[in-house]
C-alpha cells in the first residue's frame, strides 16, 4: 500500500513512517498542508493519514481540495481533538475514519487495512491467510474451508491480529479495540487473555495452526510460522 502521512510533529510522523514500513507499506511524509496538497495532486495514495491541526492550515482543507479535484484514496483523520464536531465534520466531508491521539499502532494499522478493503471492492472482502479465510462482508471465518463459529469479540480480535501480523500487539490496544476507549476497564486484561485463549483453542480445534504467541511483558503476536 502507498501511504501519505500528513503530520506536523516530526517525531510522530517519523514513528508512524517507521511502523508502517515494518508492515511493508510505502510511506511518504508531509509536514505541512501545502506540502500535502502538492503531494496528493501529483501521485495517488491508497490512504492518507491526516492530522487536522497543521501549522499552515486545517487538515480538512486537504479533503476539500481532493474532493474538488476528484482525487481518490482513503482518508484517515488523526487528531488530538476528540470533540464530536470535528469528527462529524471530517466524516461528512468524505473522510473514511477518525482516530484520536494518542493511538496504538495496531489500531492505526487495523483502520488503514479496513479503509483499504472498503475502497477496493474487487475480491478484497476476503482475507486469506494460510488455512484461515475471513469473509469481511458476511463476517464469516473458515478454517480449512470449515466454518468457524466465533463470538463477535473473537471475530474482531482475529481481524485485529490479521491486520497486525508479525507485530507485537499490546493488551491495552486490544482492550481499546474491543471495548472502545470511553470505558476505563482495568482488570480487562484478564478478559483479553481469555478471549485470546478461546480464539486460539477454536482455531486449533478446527485443525488450524497455533499462530498466536504470548510475548512476555507486552502482549501478543500473530506469527506466520
Amino acid at each position: 500500500m502507498k501511504l501519505l502521512i500528513v503530520e506536523d510533529d516530526r517525531s510522530l510522523s517519523r514513528s508512524i513512517n517507521d511502523y508502517l514500513k515494518l508492515e511493508g507499506h510505502i510511506c511518504e511524509i508531509a509536514l505541512k498542508l501545502s506540502e500535502a496538497i502538492e503531494k496528493a495532486s501529483v501521485s495517488k495514495y491508497d490512504c492518507i493519514i491526516l492530522d487536522i491541526g497543521l501549522p499552515d492550515g486545517n487538515g480538512l482543507d486537504l479533503i476539500r481540495e481532493m474532493k474538488a479535484n476528484k482525487l481518490t484514496g482513503g482518508i484517515l483523520i488523526l487528531s488530538a481533538k476528540s470533540s464530536l464536531d470535528d469528527k462529524l465534520t471530517g466524516l461528512n466531508m468524505g473522510a473514511d475514519d477518525y482516530l484520536t491521539k494518542p493511538f496504538h499502532f495496531a489500531e492505526l494499522s487495523a483502520r488503514i487495512n479496513s479503509i483499504y478493503r472498503r475502497n477496493n471492492f474487487l475480491g478484497l472482502n476476503e482475507i486469506t491467510f494460510n488455512e484461515i479465510r475471513i469473509n469481511t462482508e458476511d463476517n464469516q471465518v473458515y478454517v480449512n474451508e470449515k466454518l468457524l463459529v466465533l463470538t463477535k469479540k473473537e471475530y474482531d480480535l482475529l481481524l485485529f491480529f490479521m491486520a497486525n501480523r508479525n507485530r507485537i500487539i499490546t493488551k491495552e490496544s486490544i482492550v481499546e479495540h474491543l471495548w472502545g476507549d470511553n470505558v476505563i476497564l482495568t482488570d480487562s486484561f484478564d478478559f483479553v487473555y481469555t478471549h485470546v485463549k478461546n480464539l486460539r483453542k477454536k482455531i486449533v480445534s478446527a485443525e488450524g495452526r497455533n499462530y498466536i504467541k504470548c510475548i512476555y511483558g507486552f502482549g501478543y503476536k500473530f506469527i506466520d510460522t
Partner: protein, 421 residues
Amino acid sequence: MNLLTKSTFYYLLLSLVVMIAGGALLYLTIKKVIYKQVDKSLITEKTIIEDQIKQTDTIPDFEATFGHQIEVKLVNYRLHSYQSIKDTDIYDPESDSFIPFRYIFYSGNTVEKKGFIINIFQTISEKNELLKDIGIYMFFLFFSLLLISILINYLVARRLWSPFYESVKIAGKYDIQSDSPLNLPETDINEFNQLNEVFNNMTRKMRNDYLNLKEFGENASHEIQTPLAVIRSKTELLMQQRNLNKESINLVKSINEATARLFKLNQGLLLISKIENQVFHEKRTVSLKGIAEKGLENYKEIMGLKNISVEMDIKNEALVEMNEVLADVLISNLLSNAVRFNFDGGFIKCHIDDTFLILTNSGVPMKTNPEDLFKRFHKNSENPQSVGLGLSIVRKITESYGMIISYSCHETIHELRLKYR
C-alpha cells in the same frame, strides 16, 4: 415586595400622615374662625344691651329671635364685673334632643349701683353643620387627591423603572455561550446607563474568560495528546525490536503502562472540564434503556466469562433530553463498575421505571464512605490501577442535567440509583 409596591406604600403612608395632620389643622382653624365670629356677635349684642341698661336703667324689651335667647336680670346689689363665653347643650323638647349653644355670661353694675346679669345664648348647630360639611368635603378632596397622586406616582415610577426591568429581562436570558456579548440597550436615565455599562463590561469579561478557558482546554488537549502520542508510538516501535533483553522489556513495559495511565488521566480530566464548560451542549432525545442494553451487550462476553447473570426489569424507555456522548459515557461507566467490582457467579440487575434507573450488583463489601466514591481520584484499595475518575465523571454529568445519583451498599449488594427525571 417589589420596588413599585414598596415606594407606593411609603408614599401612601407619608401622604396619609400629612393629610391627616393638615386636615385636622385646617378643621381646627376653621372652627376657631367660626367661633370667633359667634363670640364677636355675642359680645356686640351684649354691649348693646349693657349700654341700654346703663343708660335707661331698665331692661330693654327683646324679642328672642330664632336661635337667640337673651336673659337679662336686675338685682339690687352690686355684682362682680365678670364675663365668660362657653359652650353648652340645651334640651329642646320639640326635637327631643340637646342642641349645642354658645353663650355669654356677663355680670356688671349700673350707675345706680344695681347689679345686672346678661345671658345670651346663640345656637351653633348650623355652624356645626357647616363645619361638618366642610370636614366631609375636605375628606373627599384629600382622599381623591391621594388616590390621584398615588396613581400618578405608580405610573411614573413604572415608566421610569421600565428600562431597568427590560435590562433584567435581557440579562436573565443571556447565555454566556451565545455568539454575541451581552448588549443592554441605552436608556435616557444616567443611573441605568451606568448599571447597564457595568453589566455589559462584566459579562464581556466573563465571556472572554470563558472563551479563553475553552480555548485553553482545547489547546491543553492538543498539546498533551501529541507528545503522549509520540511517547506511545516510540514505545510501541521499541517493542517490535527483536533483540530486547528481559531488563529492557521490563523498562518498556513500565513506560507503556505509565503512558496508558497518563492517557486515561488526561482523557478523564479533559472530559470533566469539557462537561463543566458545557462543551457538550447539543442535546437530543436519547433512550437510557437503549443505551443500557447496548452497554450490557458490549460486556456480554466479559459477564459470560465471570458467570455474571443479568436481569432486566424495564418498565420505561427512559427518554431524556441530553447529549448522546455524555449519556453513553454515563451509562457505560456505571455498567463497567458493576462488571468490574462483581465477583465470579454474581449478578447485575437493571431496573428502569418512570423516574429511576437502578443498577444493583453483587460485589465485595465497600469499606469507604459511599459519598467519597464520587470524589476525584478516589482510589479503591481493591483496584490500585484504577484512575479514580469514573464516578466523578458520572456525578459531573448527572449534575449538569439536574439528575441525582446516589450509592448505597448492603453487605455484598451494591445499588446505584439514578433519578433521571
